[in-house]
Every structure is written in C-alpha cells, then in structure tokens.
Amino acid sequence: MFTSLFQRLAASSGLGVASRTVAAVFGGYALAACATTALALWLPAAPATAVITANLLSFLIYTVAVLWAFATRSATRAWVGILAPALLLAALAWLGGAENLL
C-alpha cells in the first residue's frame, strides 16, 4: 500500500512531492524562525522568559508546518500556508526590533 501510494504520488506529481519537501524543510524552518523571533520580542515577559518560551514552541511550529506541507491538497496550498504566516511573523518581528539580526 505504501509503495503503490508512493508510486501514485510520484507519478501524478513527482514535482509536487519535491516542491512539498522543499516547502516543509526550508519553508517550515523559515516559519519557525520567524515565529520564534516574533514571540521572543513580543511575549509580555522578561526577555529571557520570552526567549525560552519562544524556543520551547519553535520545534512544535516546525513540525506542524512539515505535517501541513504533506497533508494539504496541493503543493501550492502547502507553500501559501507556510509562507503567508511566515511573512506576517517576519513583519511583526521587524516591528518588534529584530533589525539587529541583519
């Protein structure tokens, strides 16, 4: 069953699987990084507490992004669902003073 499913996935959308994989691995990391930065800057707590809370959540966010990339209907949806919140969070992080990262 796994093989036939894989063959079906690969045959119908070999590019799709590759695209989802890139979205999951790199897009997911970007999303997690943006979320961690935004949370570290915006959480209403002492800096150290905000940082550790953000880091505690970061790998959960990454995992959810990876699952989303493979669970959603199309590769396009995978990308949009990851990049849109990532951009939003990047903007928040920027507003919060993340420019010293650059």
Partner: protein, 547 residues
C-alpha cells in the same frame, strides 16, 4: 479527506523513517548506553575498582593538591559518590600557557579515595565515547555531525507525529499482537514498542532539539539580546568572575572542619570543593553538597554551598541552592533533565534505560517492517538491488553495531595497558568491527547474514564476562561479593545480551521463514526469505537489549 490525510501521513512516516532510520538506530543504541555512562567508564577502568571512600578523603585530596599544585590558580576536588568510588582532582596552573588559545583544560589526576595514592587508569574514553557518539558521531567536524544528528531528530519528531496520525486505532492496535505472521508481526511489534513508550519517545526527541536550540534556532535570542546567546546566558546564569590576581603567599586553613560544617549546615554529604587562588592571602574556598534532586532544577550548579575565606576559615556566604525560576524555564529544565536523567535514582535510571531499549526496538522493527513489506510484495521473485541494500544496512546497523559495541568493551580488556594512543585504538576496534560487519552484511543481505551476525554477537557478549574474569580481579563474582552494583550489573547485562542474541539466533535457525504469502509454490531458496530476518518477538528482544 480524512483517509487522504492518513494516507499522506503514512507515506511521510514511511519515507522519513527509512531515510534516517539507520542513523537514529545508532543514536538510540549509544544514547541508551549513556544512561550508564559513568558505570561503563568505571568498568573500563579496572585500576579504579579498589578505591574505597572514607571520611578522610577530603583531607587526603587537600594534602595531595598541596603537594602537587600548591601555587595553582584554582583547585577543584570532586569527592566520591555512589556512581564513582574515586576522588577527581583538577587544577588550573598559574602559568600564561594555560590561557593560550582560550582553552583552559588545566590538569587532572585521579586519587584513591581510601589511601590518597594517585591512580593511573588505563587510557580509555569509556562511556564518554558512546555518549558523545550519540550526538556528535566521531571523526566528523563537530558542527556538521551535530546538525546531521539534529536533522535526524527532527525527522523522528515528524515520524512520531505522522505515525500517531496514521494509526487512528493506535491504542487498540497496541493490544493486537499477531506473532508468526511475518510483516504483520513486525507491524504489531513496531506499534507496541512505539506506543508503550510514546511519551518517552516524544520527550527524548523534543528535548534533544531543545538541548541544541542555540545552534538550531538562535533567532529569538539574537533578536532579544544585543550579544545573542552570550547575553541570554549571562542573563539566565549570572556569574561573578573570580579575582583576577592571586595575592601574596599565605597558608590556608585545614579543610576537614569546613567540610564538617557544610555537611551539618545542609544535612547532605559534601561532593565538591573548589578553591580560587589556593595558598594566597585572597584564597576563597567553596564547599558544595549534594542536593535533593528536583526535576525542574537548572542544568548548572544550584548545589547548596558554603563559601569560606581560605586563610581564616571565616564564613563569607551561604548559598542555599537553586532559586525559584520562571515557569517557562521550569518546562525547559524538566524536558532537558528528563533527557539526561539527571535527577534519576538507580531504579528510575534502569527505567529510562529500558525506555531507550524500547526506542531502539521501535526504530529497528520499523526498519525491518519496511523490508518485510516489500519482500512480501515481490511474491517470491528475487529482491532487487535496493531492497538487498536496505536489508544489508539493517543487518549492519543492528547486529553489526551490537557486535562493535562488544568488541569495544573487549578491546578495553585485551589491548596492552602501555600501548601508545590506547584510547584511540579502542575506538578503532569499535569502528573496524562495525565496518567488517557492514562488509559482511552487504555481501550477504539475507537470512544467512542475520544468522551469522547473530551467532557472532552472541559469542562476543558471552565472552565479555569471561574475559573480565580472566583479566581483572573485579569480575562478576568479586563485584557481587563487594556489592558493587555497577560492575556486577555490567557483566550481567553482557550475559543478558548474549542470551537475547542466542534466543534470536535459535528462533531464526529453527523456524523456516514465513511463507505462503505469495501465490507461487515456495522453494527453500535463501534469497526468498532474505528480508524476513528474525521474526517479531525475537527481533524485538534482539533490538531490545541493544544498549
């Protein structure tokens, strides 16, 4: 849509699992051994086995350092405790060379806790080699190895969660066991080992990532602190620097009364004595005790400590130990302490060890299931190169690694004590054995490969207690008589490994591989059965004792 989700998760689980499964298996085996890292190191240093802690140990260590390094920059004495019978002495020489290159390793010596004599254990990396291997491999640039290990860990996290989604009936499946049915049995074993310790698997994976958060996800702390993680750590673990310069030479007080006073103050045995600028007029002595372990403790320090003036013995400061930490840090500490089993008493340590064994079995049965499923789909045709490769790698990463582990321990007893670069030779024996097993497995990626390697590891593990009996006087019988659990336990685990290996071997040899899955009449060709390997319950145990 629901079926679609489960199917896509099954696909993700299968392929992310296969891609990094071999690395995860090696991480699980060596990481599980790390729960007994100190016991392994002790077993691998027979020269330390006769050391007996005594009430005189602090005074003996004090005298030894006064004789060896009276004018050092700092001293550090680690007194014996349940897991280590010796006193560890470290000192930082007061020479400019010590600061070259930013590395301040300093000097160290091991002292017999009963007699005060210096001990010279054979050169060995002991349990540290296995502990380090589980997160930074060996011979690879550290940073690359750590990233690779973390990528594998991230894959495992994805595999765990997608695996749970795949099996919507996972808890019902847990009680389903269909032995003797080839692929089904592997699936059942995989489910059982996964669900049995599911919280452990999730914890060990997630906390593994958290331990490397500075490397993996530094963006939050870099944005919140001008100087990044340094600022973060200074904020979390504020440290006062010791006096930069030693004062004029001046004698120090006797250590025994300070130890007695600290012990009485906190009602805990003293574990550690450190001195800044010993034998100077600004000497500061810190005497730290054990603490009642708390699962949310900070990773560093936090031991109740009395700080004394070195010249007069006057009490300068009482440090009660861990201060209360905010909730988020308690969560972080909880996860990290669980990963490292820092708080664990011997019973809990064994429990974590068994969970680690369960994790090893989970990865191993998953890998065997992958091969079993695809062999069944061949319906009797000869397997292709890819399937043979996967099966060969499975053999090498399971029985091969367990064999290499036994060879590493055997090398500790067999290599001459005076051999140059001896500790490297122990590690070379480990990798050469593993390489040999890999070559053998790739040449025979079939049932014969499993049979021969199972036979080899059974002999190797059974030989270890015998070897110990022949080469040391702290063998199983004397260790039992002395009631040294660490040493007796090591030999007993070796015997258990041999029993498990022998049982798996017996099962594979005795029963023909599972047939009747294909429509074709079966002929006893070894290639047909190559992928079956040892069947479910034995496989679980083989892998199960793999630590």
């Amino acid at each position: 849509m629901k079926a679609g989700l489960r199917q896509s998760m099954a696909w993700l689980h299968t392929w992310s699992g296969l891609l990094l499964g071999w690395l995860l298996l090696a991480m699980f085996v060596t990481g599980t051994s790390a729960y007994f890292r100190e016991e392994i190191s002790l077993w691998m240093a027979p020269e330390l086995h006769h050391s007996q802690p005594s009430p005189e140990t602090p005074a003996l260590a004090w005298a030894a350092l006064n004789a060896t390094a009276p004018n050092a920059k700092s001293w550090d004495i680690q007194l014996p405790e349940a897991r280590s019978p010796v006193a560890q002495l470290r000192w930082q020489p007061d020479t400019p060379q010590a600061e070259d290159g930013g590395r301040q390793r300093g000097e160290r010596a091991v002292m017999d806790a009963g007699t005060g004599e210096p001990l010279a254990p054979r050169a060995s990396r002991g349990g540290d080699f296995l502990y380090r291997f589980h997160f930074e491999l060996y011979g690879v640039p550290r940073i690359w190895a750590r990233w690779l290990v973390c990528v594998a860990t991230m894959f495992m996290l994805v595999a765990i969660i997608s695996g749970v989604i795949t099996h919507k009936k996972i808890f019902k499946d847990f009680f389903t066991f269909r032995p003797g049915k080839g692929q089904r049995s592997w699936l059942d074993s995989h489910n059982a080992t996964a669900v049995l310790a599911l919280p452990f698997h999730f914890m060990i994976t997630y906390s593994g990532l958290l331990i490397f958060m500075v490397m993996l996800m530094p963006w939050g702390m870099n944005a919140a602190y001008q100087d990044g993680w340094r600022g973060f750590f200074q904020d979390v673990f504020p440290r006062e620097a010791p006096a930069a310069e030693g004062g004029a030479a001046a004698p120090m007080v006797d250590i025994a009364p300070l130890v007695a006073r600290t012990r009485a103050t906190f009602d805990q045995p003293v574990r550690r004595i450190s001195v800044d600028w010993p034998n100077r007029d600004n000497a500061v002595i810190r005497v730290a005790t054990d603490k009642a372990p708390n699962i949310t403790d900070q990773r560093r320090g936090g031991h109740p400590t009395l700080v004394f003036n070195g010249g007069t013995g006057e009490l300068l400061e009482t440090q009660a130990g861990d201060a209360a930490v905010p909730g988020a840090f308690r969560v972080y500490n909880l996860l990290v302490n669980l990963h490292l089993a820092r708080f664990a008493d011997p019973t809990v340590r064994w429990l974590f060890f068994l969970f680690g064994v369960g994790g090893t079995a989970m990865v191993a049965t998953g890998m065997l299931l992958w091969v079993s499923k695809r062999t069944q789909q061949l319906r009797g045709k000869a397997p292709g190169a890819a399937l043979r490769l996967v099966n060969g790698l499975n053999i090498a990463s399971l029985t091969g690694l367990l064999g290499a582990l036994a060879a590493y321990f055997a090398a500790n007893r067999l290599l001459p004590v005076e051999l140059a670069a001896r500790e490297s030779w122990e590690i070379r024996v480990f990798f050469l054995t593993w390489l040999l097993a890999l070559g053998h497995a790739l040449l025979r990626p079939d049932r014969r490969g499993w049979v021969e390697q199972l036979a080899a590891i059974t002999v190797l593990w059974a030989a270890l207690p015998v070897l110990n009996l022949a080469t040391t006087d702290s063998h199983l019988f004397s260790a039992t008589a002395w009631r040294v659990g660490a040493l007796a336990g090591f030999d007993l685990v070796c015997l258990l490994m041999a029993v498990a290996g022998g049982y798996a071997l017996w099962q594979v040899v005795q029963r023909r591989p599972v047939r009747g899955q294909g429509p074709l009449p079966q002929r006893p060709r070894p290639q047909q059965s190559m992928a079956q390997g040892p069947r479910s319950e034995r496989g679980t145990r083989t892998a199960g004792d793999g630590a």
